[in-house]
Symmetry: C2
Subunit: 219 residues, 2 copies
DNA sequence: TCAAAGGTTTAGTTTTACCTAAACTTATTT
DNA sequence: AAATAAGTTTAGGTAAAACTAAACCTTTGA
């Protein structure tokens, strides 16, 4: 029950990403893993025979409890490795995803726990996403999207959505990173863009699509 | 030319281990990777079609220059990861091999170089084996087997052969580790066992099969 | 409600990577 | 030099994991 291929793990991860414990359509699953429909149907059958998912033909797929546990464990590894890559090796946050996608498949319980310890058992990864713990519990996802803050509020950026390389590049350009504090100066009622002001006086505008991927807490 | 499967990399690694640049019999190769003869024949054909090896049927297989470069790169990754696992995560040297066998297949040039830098560009891994450098050069293998030292000589352990779990367990039991210094008190002319004396006076005997896997330099 | 559209599954093919059994080379021994 | 032993390759089979084309459900729209 403990030996899975990379492909299997990728399907499990995708299932978790798309629906958590809910039912997912095979087309969406195929799409997520970058395969065509029939490949997903077939893969899902293999997973079902290992007791990781339940399938209702023409209806959808759902993770079993075992599948859910596995999904969270893979996510744990992914986010721990991301943390390692950024904190210890000095990678930028846009570069780590594809490497962590490989590292998350390394099989060694002991390695995962030693790595977690080495990183001081973090609850959140470099993007601010919660890292599932060894017991399966998931720390709360912190922050609300910037739009939900009223004008004039003081806030701290605590999380960014993984919205692709271009998004991260833009964040770097604007020198936005986790922990930075801003005052929300104004919100355009025309295009919902947002004006932020940093401590040191510089202020700048963020498009709606940028700001909706940035999460903060109020100070 | 830069995209290889894990299986392919395992065959390349085995070929390098068994013969370096020399010709290797397909049976020995199969044996090393834990497969049967026909699997090796087939695998070797795939490698040949990618220009990584040259085959003479019924005679043997040999790495090409590309194959050799790849082999050294994989070995570099393996030994860097071993170093990481021992130095940073606190693994014992007997535990790291199987985990490094997985990690060595992670594909990211940048990761390898950042890891090397993080470890201070080591020339040797935790067993004292040389780590191939980014340019393909291999640092000298240090030390001679204990038997080659005359009675009465002072020596420092600098390298141990990877001779399996039981060997490492025995080393731990005897508290032998890299960097430790001893005086070679006597050599039995009956069974070639060796008597070592540590600084703090304790002395003990090593069987021939133990001592032939332990390498040292004289002080 | 019934038919077209859209999504899903089946059928059949490909590649990697392993296997066993049989055929074939090479080496050894008498 | 011929026979046998040892090692290698071919032949044919299986499983994972992907694909395309065709058949099959479901849903939706006229």
């Amino acid at each position: 029950m403990n030996n899975h291929t990379e492909s299997e793990e990728n399907y499990i991860k995708a299932l978790y990403y798309l629906g958590g414990e809910a039912t997912v359509a095979s087309g969406a699953l195929a799409n997520r893993v970058g395969a065509k429909g029939p490949s997903a149907t077939q893969a899902v059958r293999r997973l079902a025979s290992k007791g990781l998912v339940e399938v209702i033909p023409y209806k959808g797929v759902k993770l079993t409890l075992d599948g859910l546990t596995l999904a969270k464990h893979i996510l744990r590894k992914h986010r721990l490795w991301e943390t390692f890559l950024v904190e210890k090796l000095g990678f930028g946050w846009e570069e780590v995803h594809s490497i962590a996608e490989q590292l998350e498949h390394i099989q060694s319980r002991e390695l995962v726990e030693k790595l977690a310890e080495y990183l001081d058992s973090p609850a959140h990864d470099p993007h601010g996403d919660p890292i599932p713990q060894a017991d399966g519990k998931i720390p709360p996802a912190v922050g609300k999207p910037l739009q939900q803050f009223p004008q004039g509020s003081s806030l701290k950026v605590v999380r960014v959505e993984d919205a692709g390389t271009d998004f991260f590049t833009q964040l770097d350009l604007l020198k936005i990173s986790l922990g930075k504090e801003y005052t929300l100066k104004s919100v355009s009622s025309f295009d919902f863009s947002i004006q932020l002001q940093a401590e040191e006086g510089e202020s700048f505008w963020l498009s709606h699509s940028m700001s909706s991927n940035i999460y903060a807490i109020s100070l």
